[in-house]
Symmetry: C2
Subunit: 376 residues, 2 copies
């Protein structure tokens, strides 16, 4: 019996389970592909929707808009997964920190957490405040109608803490790092609350219909060796220990992505996520060697490649595929999900995403055919 | 005969050669320490000098100012090396690109290199245009009067290219990466000119009196695996192949620092620099294992530690020392130069630098004493 034959509730069976199979290191006919920030500013239809909604949060918190925007890239490209349109910072927003996005700038919190009193007040938010997210998940599942699986996500406890303390993005993270080095006790309290909140949040997404979940540790890579293990990895582990591994008899793969975490892959693998996301600095062959056979890898094309022409995109996509599995081992290459090493740049021409998706499908399918030539 | 007994010209013999000995992996009584950007905005006397000079370039290009500012941290702290006060971008400035620094912002080029015509015009600049740098080196050597050695430096060919193409700092380096992926031929021409220019420039610094040289590959870490080797590492190698390894019978150690380069240490070590600089994400014990016994390591405290208190600074300094050599191996720990993993933050209290330097000297001296306790 195939693993994904039964789907939840009234929803259509899954037509394309390539992504989920690759997450669990099962054989697939080709390498599945989706792209971080595949629904985003590089798409004119996204910019139109955002203009109509008025703000990023209005877009993300409205079920119809969130569904529409999630589906946009799937209507253009044969991607193998959808990802919930939302932000990594919804959880601290629900804690009452007041999230906003100024146009052309990053996120900002009106009430950052910078002293003992603010830390003491933090608690796991009532999930009712995040109902708009779970409603969006259910609505997107309906809209997908079984085309491809839906990925839910959250920021990691550490990454949430960075924004919560800094109040915005930062060049050097001096506020959060000062807190970490000066008052590790406060930092641990923030991270404990974050981890427990993220776990409940991801479980609620799964119960609403998310078929895989991803933890974005976008700022784990700014930490020193030693501090990373103590303040990021330990709390990602605390999340994973509480997040469902299956729902209604179906496995729910868990993906951990630490940007700039290439030096700690063996330690990330020890948490036993199903998939490790990799940025473009990592060599996939070395990564496979370092994490062993028990975890799938997701990545890792440099998003800047999508700013070049068709021939370059195809050549670089082939390089990534071949770095995961050299042509002579390609017929049993399981456990690779093609993605970028970071989000799609807003400067990307939409047609270049089409070129990439088509190339990954065609080239990986051909690589899995014994004795086939894989010339682009 | 000690290796550094004879010094060039009329200059006093070197009183403290601990830094140079550690670069060459010779035994030292303690771990030498200097800090990237040790002369900089965290020092009130630096800010006063900069205000007097009027601009960063006026400060760097005036022999007296450059000498004064280089000496400032040495007059406060018993650092084991001085580093020329200058900028990594002097070479492209001498190529005619028009370097300036707006207050509170990073560097900016008036005439960035973005098309075939601009690339074609690039050539190795006449070193006479950089005479202010060599004059500063000679003047600083005189002012040092043998106290500690003087380090010269340059940006790496790739790092120079980033600024030359982008025209300024960047979040995503999309212009230089677009050029790299779309027109690798143009990128290689820029890098070849840069490498040859950097080599002549460093040799001129050595001839003027620099006793070690450091190549700052500040932006090597933004490249994808594969691209790093082709567009950064290969040109650092081209520099090293042309830079003097000794001058007037004295060895001149070469330091290569790739920020974010922790995944490529074995490949950097294969270029056979004397020292590899490490950022704070790297575990020193793993790095030693990866690069072998033929290269010294420099680093790698997170600069944010200097924003905390005395006890935290001492504890974190001890952690770095012990990660290079566990207490039971410390008596033969050679080849470590203590430094930060990046420049001193402008937010650092000057007295904290004093705390760090004293702690590194005291703790490392004690660690080298067999059977001594190293409790802070």
């Amino acid at each position: 019996m195939p693993l994904f034959a039964t789907m939840q509730g009234m929803i259509a069976p899954l037509h394309n389970d390539t992504f989920l199979r690759a997450c669990l290191r099962q054989p697939t006919a080709y390498t599945p592909v989706w792209l971080m920030r595949q629904a985003g500013r590089y798409l004119p239809e996204y910019r139109a929707a955002r203009a109509k909604a008025g703000s990023f949060m209005a877009l993300a918190s409205n079920t119809d808009f969130a569904t529409e925007v999630t589906m946009q890239p799937l209507d253009r490209f044969p991607l193998d997964a959808a990802i919930l349109f939302s932000d990594i910072l919804t959880v601290p927003d629900a804690m009452g920190l007041g999230l906003s996005f100024a146009l052309g700038e990053g996120p900002r919190f009106a009430r950052p957490v910078r002293d003992e009193a603010a830390v003491a007040k933090l608690e796991v938010p009532d999930m009712a405040k995040l109902r708009y997210v779970f409603d969006a998940v259910a609505s997107i599942r309906k809209a997908l109608n079984g085309r491809v699986p839906l990925i839910g996500f959250s920021g990691s406890p550490w990454t949430l803490a960075c924004y919560m303390v800094e109040g915005a993005g930062s060049d050097d993270y001096h506020l959060v790092k000062s807190l970490l080095y000066s008052r590790p006790d406060l930092m641990h309290r923030v991270l404990t609350v974050n981890a427990d909140a993220v776990a409940v949040y991801l479980n609620s997404q799964i119960e609403a219909g998310a078929q895989a979940v991803m933890i974005f540790d976008s700022w784990g890579g700014v930490l020193a060796d030693g501090a990373f293990q103590q303040f990021s990895l330990a709390y990602t582990q605390r999340v994973l220990q509480q997040v469902r591994t299956e729902y209604e008899g179906t496995r729910v793969p868990r993906i951990v992505f630490t940007k700039g975490g290439g030096l700690w892959l063996d330690e990330i693998a020890a948490l036993q996520p199903d998939v490790i996301g990799l940025d473009w600095t990592v060599n996939l062959a070395k990564a496979r060697e370092s994490v062993g056979a028990h975890v799938a890898l997701q990545g890792n094309l440099d998003p800047a490649v999508l700013l070049a022409g068709t021939a370059q995109i195809e050549a670089q996509a082939l390089k990534v595929l071949e770095s995961f599995a050299a042509p002579d081992q390609a017929s049993d290459a399981t456990g690779h999900i093609f993605n970028l090493g970071h989000g799609v740049s807003q400067r990307t021409a939409p047609e270049n995403v089409g070129v990439l998706v088509e190339a990954v499908h065609r080239l990986s399918r051909r690589m899995r055919t014994p004795n086939a030539s894989v010339l682009v």
